[in-house]
Amino acid sequence: MNLSVQIGKLTLQNPVMVASGTFGYGVEYAQLLDLNQLGAVVVKGIRLHPVRGNPTPRTVEVASGLINAIGLQGPGVDGFIKKYWPFLKKLKVPTIINIWGTTVDEYAEVARRFDTLGGVGALELNVSCPNIKEGGAQFGTDVKLLSRVVAACRKVTELPLITKMSPNVVSIAPYAKAAEDAGSDALAVTNSYPAMAIDIETRKPKLANVTGGLTGPCLKPIAIKLVWEAAKVVKIPIIGMGGIQNAADAIEFMMAGATAVAVGTANFYEPQTPLQVIAAIREFMQQRDIQDVSEITGSVQTTK
């Protein structure tokens, strides 16, 4: 039985990774689970310089979901390399680094830095964070800017590039195509959806940043549709995410067209989720005599 999947030139031992921003820099969860059993570790978004992030409150729980406006707090490239890379580079599974910038040049510069670092599994271009004024979603909702960001990173690195798509578009197809055409090796679908909650007692937004990004089970039906639509127009693999809580959810994403999946918000509730998902995908395959996990990908039967 084969669970391994291919993301560009990167081979993952199984299709289950964790979602950027929900797994810190890996080290924090190392006491609770064996990271070496994951498909890959994906770290929190990093730009060139350290970032303080937004004031608090930064998250709020809603019906079957979470809204966050962390604001991409992070140590910057140097801080990350100093503080977290010594731990991560020793892992047996690949580390995927989620990167961002406020200009096309910054994206490229961060990509270049990680290219030269050596040992990085892949780069995930976050062009879809709804929680920062500059950078983030502005790149993911403008087809031309998106192409430029991907192309600029493509120029400076041979590392597999994963473009993390914004769900906040009329149709994902042109964006997916643009990322593929500009040289992306895979798509991550999807980032969080712009959302807001108000405390009716204080009449204040529940997040200091006023708005944030919605994630968790409530987002799954939207994300499934986006994966299905993106899979119809691109040949590169898709990493599906948005509300995965168990293997059934993960398999649903794969049937819609995802080659791999990532567990995000569910980690907060149950850090064992990614490992439980891996075990249960294996069981699903055994029960149905599925030899290769790739048989699941895109297997939904639709007439459309």
Partner: protein, 261 residues
């Protein structure tokens, strides 16, 4: 830090809307330090995506307990769970209080509401007894007073409505005590943010050290999500540090109250 599915030993009403929950957690119990907390997944809470953090109150053998107030959907569901039911717990979490040393500063504990629970282990494990200042709005908000007395500590109660102990805020007898003598003292506080801020200010004015256990909204509880940060002095400037990991207990001099909301 461990994740364990634990069984409820008991879960009984204390005063008003406060409950005491005891769970059997053989692997976690021995690891617990004063001021640490447990991140609890209330399994029957269906549409929730977060655990709920609670300070660890008491540790006895292979059990530990929490003292919680029923305030919302998680704690309401929890309050209806009986002995034998299961919870998933990640604990012990966070950086707790520094346990006083014999012959060191006299510990003065300042607590508001369920902050009292977070300080029991500190009082119990401190070789040096001291004073506990505890405040609340009404008599029912004064929790586990007897337990602290049983440890041989001097408990000074204040209530805002005067229904128990002295009338007023908890800072009043604290300030009086600090003025009364010049002996070396150290403050340890846990309670609502307003109270912590006031204690921090008193500590600064009185030039006594203080450790404050910060009550920040949490999400992951283990340091990955960056929800629970507070502004802390670092180098020449400041940075956001995580209440769940670098805290919940911080040296009061490091906290930048101007920036924290």
């Amino acid at each position: 830090m461990l994740e364990q599915t634990v069984q409820i030993v008991s879960n009984e009403r204390d005063t008003d809307s406060h409950f005491r929950l005891v769970v059997r957690a053989s692997r976690i119990a021995p690891l617990i330090q004063p001021g640490q907390f447990a991140h609890v997944r209330v399994l029957p809470m269906k549409d929730a995506v977060l655990r709920r953090p609670f300070s660890i109150f008491q540790v006895e053998g292979d059990t530990f307990s929490i003292l919680y107030k029923s305030v919302g959907k998680g704690t309401e569901v929890l309050a209806r769970m009986g002995p034998g039911k299961e919870l998933s717990v990640i604990a012990p979490l966070g950086h707790g209080f520094t346990v006083p040393k014999r012959g060191g500063e006299t510990p003065l504990l300042v607590a508001g509401g369920y902050g009292m629970a977070a300080m029991y282990l500190l009082a119990q494990r401190s070789p040096q007894k001291g004073i506990v200042f505890v405040g609340g709005r009404r008599h029912v908000d004064i929790l586990c007073e007897k337990e602290f007395q049983a440890l041989g500590w001097d408990v000074r109660v204040t209530t805002e409505d005067g229904s128990h102990g002295e009338k007023g805020l908890v800072t009043k007898p604290l300030q009086a005590e600090l003025k009364r003598s010049t002996a070396r003292r150290k403050l340890f506080a846990c309670g609502p943010t307003g109270m912590l801020k006031a204690v921090g200010k008193i500590a600064e004015e009185s030039r006594v050290p203080a450790e404050l256990s910060m009550d920040e909204h949490m999400c992951c509880g283990v340091g990955v999500c960056l929800t629970c940060v507070i502004p802390v002095k670092a180098g020449d400037g400041w940075e956001y540090q995580r209440t769940c990991t670098e805290g919940p207990v911080f040296d009061s001099r490091k906290i930048l109250w101007e920036i924290a909301k």
